[in-house]
Symmetry: D3
Subunit: 136 residues, 6 copies
Amino acid sequence: MIYLTRRERFSAAHRMFRPGLSDEDNLKIYGKCSNPNWHGHNYVLKVTVRGEIDPDTGYFMNATRLKEIINERVIEKLDHRNMNTETDFMAGKIATTENLAVAVWDELKGPLEAEGVTLHCVRIEETENNFIEYYG
Amino acid sequence: MIYLTRRERFSAAHRMFRPGLSDEDNLKIYGKCSNPNWHGHNYVLKVTVRGEIDPDTGYFMNATRLKEIINERVIEKLDHRNMNTETDFMAGKIATTENLAVAVWDELKGPLEAEGVTLHCVRIEETENNFIEYYG
Amino acid sequence: MIYLTRRERFSAAHRMFRPGLSDEDNLKIYGKCSNPNWHGHNYVLKVTVRGEIDPDTGYFMNATRLKEIINERVIEKLDHRNMNTETDFMAGKIATTENLAVAVWDELKGPLEAEGVTLHCVRIEETENNFIEYYG
Amino acid sequence: MIYLTRRERFSAAHRMFRPGLSDEDNLKIYGKCSNPNWHGHNYVLKVTVRGEIDPDTGYFMNATRLKEIINERVIEKLDHRNMNTETDFMAGKIATTENLAVAVWDELKGPLEAEGVTLHCVRIEETENNFIEYYG
Amino acid sequence: MIYLTRRERFSAAHRMFRPGLSDEDNLKIYGKCSNPNWHGHNYVLKVTVRGEIDPDTGYFMNATRLKEIINERVIEKLDHRNMNTETDFMAGKIATTENLAVAVWDELKGPLEAEGVTLHCVRIEETENNFIEYYG
Amino acid sequence: MIYLTRRERFSAAHRMFRPGLSDEDNLKIYGKCSNPNWHGHNYVLKVTVRGEIDPDTGYFMNATRLKEIINERVIEKLDHRNMNTETDFMAGKIATTENLAVAVWDELKGPLEAEGVTLHCVRIEETENNFIEYYG
């Protein structure tokens, strides 16, 4: 069993808030991250897949194909976008990095299985000091 | 003459657009950076000041004081904010990194001179692949 | 189950030596790290906690609260200090990164459980080329 | 149980190709990585070992000794070399990062066990965007 | 006057040697960098251009256009290639980073002037510990 | 004219204090950096030299020779040492990064000129957020 990780980046706006609560109450829970005028980040996404090495090619998965899937399913829907209002797989969800990691997992799991590999970990770095990992 | 650089970070939303043009025309000039729904970045700001070493202290400027000035004048007005609508010193300006660097210079020049040092360079890194430097 | 990692930094002096041995014998075991006049590092500490996402907030733990606990229990006792002589939780221990990682674990485990999350990993990077991980 | 990771670097040339196939067929599988005129990388190698802390020394393994083993067994055979034609432990293998990680594991496992520690992970980063991990 | 820097990367094989000298003599001058079987690096290229901000757009040069020019003129001729035998603008030159920086400058100067900006600096990082800068 | 920069690292203990002042007065000037029990850092040193490319070798200075000079004159006197009490060229000086940069310049200027190159810049990074540059 071998593990391959691909790093991609996206720049997005977001706001954390809980529908039904006032801006004041959201401020108590989320602090400055609840700013109604939005803020944003350069997110770093690391997707790890696992599988067996193919003895014919020495590859277990082509890194270029992995990049394509991540870009098509995830990056194009997040990069230079507003995660709260424009990203279909975040609709109706609070835009925390935790929820984002789970949503990215759900987007990638099927397409990667169709390639014959297993999704192992989705890691999202929001700043240089905070990151979330989800293993399904 | 010696040079001291302080690195600070801020996370902001922005949009590049030229007032009076349609979204379509802005798209032609600014590409995906003109998205009307905003996007955002983790910006890295590096401020360089220059001066002579004080032989009594071995310092030329206290790095903590430099940090305070940058935070008070610049970071608090940008971090977790929308640069286009909330940052006073960007009002009426197109939110490019070029214009931001010049505006940050104008904010910092006077307060730093009041400390007896000279502002040498404002550097703003928008992504790991692009940065702007302004020397006045 | 989701994992959140917070990165903090501290700059400390230390010396590795085994009480009861001569400086010469300590030099044989620890090399230049046993210098009786001390040396120091910019340490990077990464604390990983795990738990379930709260569906109401989308958070599993507030990163600001995690930062507060790490700073109060660990960073304030190490940063700009001499780890051998000033850090209470290192008293009587040889100041290796291994022992430091275990001691930091012991400091953080209880306070994090009191917040309803589980401490998963303490990682301490002494230089860009060496790091220690402890999982309890 | 504690984990120690040592980071080393090597700069090597390589080419991915499957003996018996034409350059055209190799191009279909490996893309530009199959260039018959070679290309190269600055590889980053991270070797993680695990064991128990020795209460007498506070060490679980001397990092300098770990560095020596990695350099003698792996780095000297790869650094500033052509991995396909000069590295004995890659002879007859397709020079993918996957195969390289397994080969490095096989080189290091025995010598590390002879030191009383267990090899836990070999991680090889080919670029800032791709890395492979192997746990045996 | 404002400065914009774009960072690009390429992975190439090379060998330093002086035609007309034996492998032994080249080894004396270039050490392991003269290995006749090649080696390679992940090079980082930073191109800095300078100019005036256009008050209509807030840009001084479109970073996407800068990226295109660097890729077309430089990266495509170096990435996943052998710099000594495949890169037209290095033909007949010793493949040192110094010579490479000057050659990249010569490739970029004209096309950038045609865009109305001035090439200010070409910086090439061969490893994390060595880089060359050329200002024309 | 071309510029070559070499990056080296050293880990040292230090304390900032002005002889003749009490610990209380030093605390007012230097804050926690005046801790009488020392603290320390992983310093990064970047030395830039400039000169003309030798057309015979394509080098302007051998990077290995530059590394040797920096290590012999500077790193060996600072690494894993107490800068205040053990480093000859810091004797009688307040151990600020400013003074350290000037002292390193004075150590390197002559030996580099003897190699036929000109010292251009000494840059010392004390943390990821602060660095000093000195150009003579």
